[in-house]
C-alpha cells in the first residue's frame, strides 16, 4: 500500500510551546533517533538543565541555540504507516510575516498554537490573517498547555469560540477549522488520546493530520502548466520530438484535450502526456510531465499551457496584494523584477493603495510598504502575463518581486485581494480587502 504526503505548517507566538509540540510529534511518531536524543541530552546537561530540552531537537543554527530563539523556517519530517509529513516549522516573533508566508505557501494545512492560559492574542490574529491571505485550505487551533489550566473545559470552550469568530471573520469556512486541546509537554491529544479531557470527542492532532485530504483546491481547478523547458532530443529516431516539460500547476491534462498557449493565444490539442516511465492517460496538479501537442507551434519557457475553458486572463496590469519581506521599503514608482510561473519580467509599481493593520484588520493608505507589511499595489509589467486571481488558482495567482541589483526576493505577491474580511454581526464593520 502506498502512502501519500501531507505538507503542513506550524505557527505560534513565543513561549506557546511550539518547539515542544513539534518535538512531541517527532518523538511520539518515533522519528527521533537515538543519537539525536543523546545529542539533545548532552547539550541539555551542558546548559545545566535537569530534563532534556526538546526544543533543542528543532533549533538548528548556532545563533538560535545561543539566543534561545528560532530564526528561520525549518523543515521536519516524520511518517506514520498511513502518511508521510513535511512540516514547515515557522518561528513566531522574528520576521513573523516572512516566515509564516514562507511556511504557508506550500502548506495544505496549518497548526496554529495558543497558550491555554492566554487564549487568542495579537500574534494569533496576525498569524491567522497571514494564513487566510495565503489561502491555506485547513486550520487547526491547538490549545496548548491545558495541563496548566487543570483540563478545564470552560477555558477551552471560551478560546475555541473566540477563535471561531476570528476564523470566520477571515473567511475560513467552519468545517475548515478544528480546535484540539493538547499538552505538548505531557503528550495529551498530540499522538495519544488523553484521559484527562473526557469532554473532548474529536481526533488527536496526529489523527487529524493523518485523515485530512492532502490535495488542495488546485486539483479541481481548470488545467494550467507553465512550460519550464522544451525537450528536443534531436536524435535520428526522435527527430521531430518536441516536448513541453512542466509540473501540472492546476487541474488535469489528458490526451485529446484542447489547450491554449498563453500569452500568444494559439490553440492546439494534446497529443500525449509523457513521463520517463511512459505515457499517462491523465495527469493532475503536482505531477511533472512532458506534454506533446498535435501542432508544431512556437512555445518556449515562460509560456503557460491552459484549458481553453476558463483560461487565465492575459494582462500587463495587475492589482495585487504583497507581503513585503525586505528591509528596503517599497515606494510607488519602484522598478523591480517580477517572477510569475516560469517567466521573469520587469515591473513598475504604480500606486501603493492599502496597508493592512493585522492587529485591527483595518486598512490605511500608506506612503510605502515596510518589512512585514501586507498591502495592496498596482503593477505594470513589461510582458503580458497569464494570471488568475490567487483566490481561484494559487499557482498562477502568485509571483515574486525581486530586487534587480541584488537579486534578493523582496515580496510574495498574490494577484487580486485573496484576503476577504467578513463583517460579523455585533462587531465593528471592516473595510473589505485587501
Amino acid at each position: 500500500m502506498s502512502r501519500d504526503l501531507l505538507r503542513f505548517a506550524t505557527a505560534g507566538s513565543v513561549d506557546d510551546g511550539k518547539s515542544t509540540l513539534v518535538g512531541r510529534l517527532l518523538y511520539d511518531t518515533k522519528s527521533v533517533l537515538a543519537d539525536q536524543i543523546e545529542a539533545v541530552q548532552r547539550a541539555s546537561v551542558d546548559k545545566g538543565l535537569s530534563t532534556p530540552d526538546l526544543s533543542l531537537l528543532v533549533d538548528g543554527l548556532r545563533a538560535e541555540r545561543e539566543q534561545g530563539i528560532t530564526i528561520d523556517v525549518a523543515y521536519r519530517y516524520f511518517s506514520t504507516p498511513v502518511r508521510e509529513f513535511v512540516l514547515a516549522d515557522t518561528p513566531g516573533h522574528v520576521q513573523y510575516t516572512r516566515n509564516t508566508v514562507t511556511g504557508a505557501s506550500t502548506a495544505e494545512l496549518a497548526v496554529l498554537l495558543v497558550d491555554a492560559r492566554h487564549g487568542v492574542v495579537e500574534q494569533t490574529r496576525r498569524h491567522a490573517a497571514v494564513l487566510a491571505l495565503l489561502r491555506v485550505p485547513r486550520l487547526v487551533l491547538a490549545i496548548n498547555k491545558i495541563d496548566l489550566v487543570d483540563y478545564d473545559e470552560a477555558v477551552l470552550q471560551a478560546i475555541a469560540k473566540d477563535f471561531a469568530g476570528l476564523a470566520r471573520s477571515l473567511g475560513f469556512a467552519d468545517d475548515a477549522v478544528l480546535t484540539i486541546p493538547v499538552s505538548a509537554l505531557v503528550g495529551d491529544n498530540v499522538v495519544e488520546r488523553s484521559e484527562r479531557t473526557p469532554w473532548y470527542d474529536g481526533p488527536t492532532l496526529l489523527g487529524h493530520l493523518e485523515s485530512v485530504p492532502v490535495t488542495g483546491p488546485e486539483v479541481d481547478a481548470p488545467f494550467r502548466m507553465p512550460v519550464q523547458y522544451v525537450i528536443r532530443p534531436r536524435t535520428e529516431e526522435l527527430h521531430d520530438y518536441r516536448g513541453y516539460a512542466g509540473q501540472v500547476a492546476a487541474g488535469t491534462v489528458r490526451p485529446g484535450d484542447q489547450i491554449v498557449v498563453l500569452p500568444s493565444g494559439r490553440r492546439s490539442t494534446v497529443a500525449s502526456v509523457e513521463t520517463a516511465d511512459g505515457p499517462l492517460a491523465a495527469a493532475s496538479a503536482g505531477r511533472s510531465v512532458t506534454v506533446l501537442l498535435d501542432d508544431d507551434i512556437d512555445i518556449s519557457r515562460g509560456d503557460v499551457l491552459a484549458a481553453v475553458e476558463g483560461a487565465p486572463r492575459v494582462t500587463d496590469e495587475l492589482d495585487a496584494t504583497l507581503c513585503w519581506l525586505a528591509e528596503k521599503p517599497l515606494r510607488p514608482g519602484a522598478r523591480l523584477l517580477l517572477k510569475h510561473g516560469t517567466r521573469t519580467t520587469q515591473a513598475i509599481v504604480g500606486a501603493v493603495t492599502d496597508r493592512l493593520d493585522t492587529d485591527t484588520f483595518t486598512l490605511s493608505t500608506p506612503e510605502q510598504l515596510e518589512i512585514n507589511d501586507i498591502g495592496r499595489v498596482t503593477l505594470r509589467t513589461a510582458d503580458p502575463l497569464p494570471v488568475d486571481d490567487y483566490a481561484d488558482v494559487r499557482a498562477t495567482g502568485s509571483f515574486l518581486l525581486i530586487d534587480p541589483p541584488t537579486g534578493n526576493t523582496l515580496a510574495a505577491g498574490l494577484v487580486g485581494s485573496p484576503l476577504v474580511l467578513v463583517d460579523l454581526p455585533g462587531e465593528t464593520a471592516h473595510t473589505p480587502g485587501p
Binding site: 528561520d72 521536519r76 519550464q228 528536443r232 488535469t252 499517462l280 503536482g286 511533472s288 517572477k339 515574486l400
Partner: protein, 300 residues
Amino acid sequence: MTAPALDALEALESEAIHIFREVAGEFDRPVILFSGGKDSTLLVHLAVKAFAPAPVPFPLLHVDTGHNYPEVIAFRDSLVERLGLRLEVAHVQDWIDDGRLVERADGTRNPLQTQPLLDSIVEHRFDAVFGGGRRDEERARAKERIISLRDAFGRWDPRKQRPELWNLYNGRHAPGEHVRVFPISNWTELDVWRYIQRENIELPSIYYSHQREVFRRDGMWLAEGPWGGPRGNETLELKTVRYRTVGDGSCTGAVESTATTLDEVIAEVMASRLTERGATRADDRLSEAAMEDRKREGYF
C-alpha cells in the same frame, strides 16, 4: 475527473524533476556533484527522468579525496559510460601535491574537499551545483533552501537566505556567485531507499552486506586503505558489514549488517536507532555545530 493522486514518492519525484528543469531553464552551466554514493546516484537517476528522452544537459563533478573504495570508482565509471554523461574529476591529491592544500594530521580528507570544489566551480564557471543534501540529515541542513545562494567565496550565510515561496525559486546571482541546488531536500533516508527499490536503481556493492577486514576506532568500523590502517592496539578483524554512506575511507565507518538485498536494507533502516551521519561519519561529530561551520565555508 482527476487523475489518481500522487503517493509520497511520486510527489517527491515530481518535485525533484521540477527543480532540475527550473535550473536547466535558468542557469547557463549547471553541474551535478557526484560521489557514487546513493544520494548522488539518485540525483542522476532523477535528472535522467527529468529530461528523457533527451540526454541530461549538464555534466557530473566528482571531488575525489583519493580515499576511495575501488567498487565505488568502478560503479561511477560504468554509470557515466552507460548514460553517456561527461564526468569532471577534481583530485584532492593534485591540490596537496602543488601545495594548495596540506594533509591533515589525522589523515582525513573530507574537510579538504571544499577548496578543490570551489576551485573547480571557478575553473569551469559552474553557476548551479546540484547536491544530494537532505534536510532530514542534520539540524543546520533543516534550514537550507532548495536553491541556496553562495557568495564569490562559496560561503553560506544562514541569516541572509532568501525566503523560498511556493515553488517559485529565485536563482538570481551576480557574476562569480553560484547557487547550490538540493532537489531531494524533502526526502528522508527511508524515502531514498524505498524509491531506489521502486525504481530498481543500481548502487555500489558496498551498500550491501559483505565480508571486510576492519578495525575499531572512535566507535566505528574502519577499513584499511591508502589512508592508513590500524594503529597501536587496533587490530584488523573480518566482519560482515555494509556501508550506509560513501565518503572518505579514513572517516567513514561500516556497520555490522547481514542485509544483502534492498528489502533487508530497508528493514534495517526502519529498525535503526541511529541517523546515518551520526552512526558513521566521524567528521560530523567533531563539534556541536560541525555541519553549520563546514557549510558556511562552502562545503556541501
